[in-house]
């Protein structure tokens, strides 16, 4: 009977194993570089995955890009230079926070536009509701009277 819960546990342990498998041993020249490295690989998206950062991906390209990030940091590049390096090769996709360009303004402004539209609809609905509550016209009263007298 006990075996029934052993299998799911085994399966789960397999999944967990792969989820944490992406971190390889790296030699960091200093603690500062190490911190910046982990920050950067968390901020950059793996180009082969739809929504995984470089830190969380096992894809070959993610491994290559992680070692590239470290190489650039060791060469003395700033965080912005590393991001620019990636941007020049992989475009907006690689940055989780896309830059403000003609191609991305809709992405940035879209939520604002939708919010304004929503407020507008809410506001106009308030108006129309008030209109319906304006009470009965003389004609309505006459009709009601007629119905009641029937």
């Amino acid at each position: 009977m006990k075996k029934h819960w052993v299998w799911p546990l085994l399966m789960m342990s397999l999944v967990w194993g792969s989820a944490f498998g992406a971190i390889e041993a790296q030699d960091f020249p200093s603690e500062a570089v190490k911190t910046r490295y982990y920050d950067l690989i968390a901020m950059l998206r793996c180009p082969q995955c739809l929504n995984t950062n470089l830190a969380g991906s096992d894809a070959m390209i993610a491994q290559n890009l992680r070692s590239t990030v470290l190489r650039l940091l060791v060469e003395g590049k700033s965080d912005d230079e590393v991001k620019q390096f990636m941007y020049e090769r992989y475009g907006d996709f690689i940055l989780y926070e896309p830059r403000w360009t003609p191609k991305t303004w809709l992405l940035w402004l879209g939520p604002l536009v939708l919010a304004v539209m929503g407020l507008g609809i809410w506001w106009s609905m308030g108006f129309s509701r008030r209109d319906t509550r304006q009470g009965l016209t003389d004609l309505d009263r006459k009709k009601v009277q007629q119905l009641l007298e029937r």
Binding site: M60, I61, N64, R89, G91, F93, S124
Partner: protein
């Protein structure tokens, strides 16, 4: 006023239709647009796969319209497209340059022996540095470069006969006519 409130859901609905109309027309989200179109081939100096003591430089790729094909032995789709690359080379004599990506050179040479070699030139990119400079994010990827060594097009995935006849072939023809 009553008319206006009828209009609101219609406008909202029309908005959703327009949004989804364009949304569903977007191509596969896995396909990243290349940032390298209309840029020259990145500078590099890497070993030649068949003559490991010799090196290949970016300048060696310039001079002729060519296909730049990123491949590896670990990539099953590369075997799938190998037949088509061979067919293209045999029927048109097009210059095809192979970039062996993140691979073991010995395995790569054995692979070429087994499947044939339509490539005019072989580059070994064992660390993937050239691939990263090209904005490659998987294999196979194929670039069309013009005679001046400028990247004109990138195809992600397998080059099939359909891809060649509809896209790559006509483009190569145009570039060859222009140069």
């Amino acid at each position: 006023m009553a008319k206006q409130s009828v209009l609101i859901p219609v406008v909202v609905f029309a908005g959703i239709v327009v949004l989804l109309w364009f949304g569903f027309q977007l191509s596969d989200p896995h396909l990243l647009p290349s940032e390298k179109i209309d840029e020259p081939i990145p500078e590099f100096e890497l070993p030649n796969l068949l003559y490991p003591r010799e090196s290949v430089r970016s300048g060696d790729l310039v001079g002729e319209v060519a296909l730049l094909n990123v491949w590896a032995t670990w990539c099953p789709s590369c075997i799938a497209e190998h037949g088509e690359l061979t067919r293209i080379f045999e029927t048109t004599g097009l210059r095809i340059i192979g970039i062996n990506y993140n691979d073991d050179p010995d395995a790569a040479r054995a692979w070429l022996k087994r499947w044939g070699d339509p490539y005019a030139l072989h580059v070994v990119d064992q660390a993937g540095t050239l691939a990263i400079d090209l904005g490659v994010y998987g294999a196979p990827e194929t670039f069309v470069i013009d005679a001046a060594g400028v990247i004109r097009y990138r195809h992600v995935g397998v080059v099939t006969q359909k891809v060649y006849e509809e896209t790559l072939g006509p483009m190569i023809q145009d570039l060859q006519d222009a140069s």
